[in-house]
């Protein structure tokens, strides 16, 4: 089951929860708030979600990763609200017997997440002002 949270994403707990004896490989991706974008200095990101639909889409992604790749499990956590610099807005973690499908599934789930889940990101700039990040039309 995927998760939306307003708190920092607990990486150690996520990794512990997906670890299982039949798996030899865990791939984890974290998207973190970066201090620049398109030449502008970013001070923080703020995320907004259509929560029930986003959760259903993330759950569907977790299941699709297991269906498409030779992996045992996929878990996704997305943070909403304000995410300060260096903190993670999203974590995708995959457990598999072998590392190639673990990497493939983790990467695929992140790519899909960015274009299929109703979540929006706003940048706040050091020089003032804010902007919704250009996104991808759903559907």
């Amino acid at each position: 089951m995927a998760e939306l949270t307003r708190d920092p994403i607990p990486v150690e707990r996520l990794v512990a929860a997906i670890t299982r004896p039949e798996c030899g490989a865990i791939a984890l991706f974290l998207g973190t708030t970066r201090d620049h974008h398109d030449g502008r200095r970013v001070t923080q990101l703020a995320y907004e979600a259509y929560e029930p639909m986003a959760l259903a889409a993330l759950d569907a992604l977790e299941r699709a990763a297991v269906d498409r790749f030779e992996v045992a499990a996929c878990r996704i956590v997305h943070r909403i609200g304000e995410v300060p610099l260096t903190e993670a807005s999203v974590a995708v973690v995959v457990a598999a017997a072998h590392r190639a499908p673990a990497f493939d599934a983790c990467r695929w789930a992140m790519d899909e997440l960015k274009r299929t889940v109703p979540i929006w990101k706003k940048e706040h700039y050091a020089e003032g002002g804010e902007n919704w990040v250009e996104g991808t039309k759903l559907g």
Partner: protein
């Protein structure tokens, strides 16, 4: 009939609120709802070309029929991650 409209991201800012109710004639479709919203919030129109909509949490086309009590969500291009 009455539906609930949810606004996200730029749509929320243009509408000035995250949600509202909207009265529509029976048999209205998504396009009719958008037209009604545009009359009250003209800036929403700039979003239409890239807007997706969901009815009761499923993506729907502009010609989808709306039922009384439906939840219509206005979804600008997404940028999670």
């Amino acid at each position: 009939m009455t539906i609930t409209v949810l606004f996200f991201a730029q749509a929320r800012e243009h509408a000035g609120a995250p949600r509202r109710t909207l009265e529509l004639p029976d048999g209205s479709r998504v396009a009719d709802a958008l037209a009604a919203l545009e009359r009250e919030h003209p800036r929403l129109a700039e979003l239409w070309p890239h807007l997706a909509v969901a009815v009761d949490q499923r993506l729907a086309g502009r010609d989808a029929l709306l039922a009384h009590g439906a939840e219509l969500a206005l979804l600008p291009p997404v940028s999670g991650g």
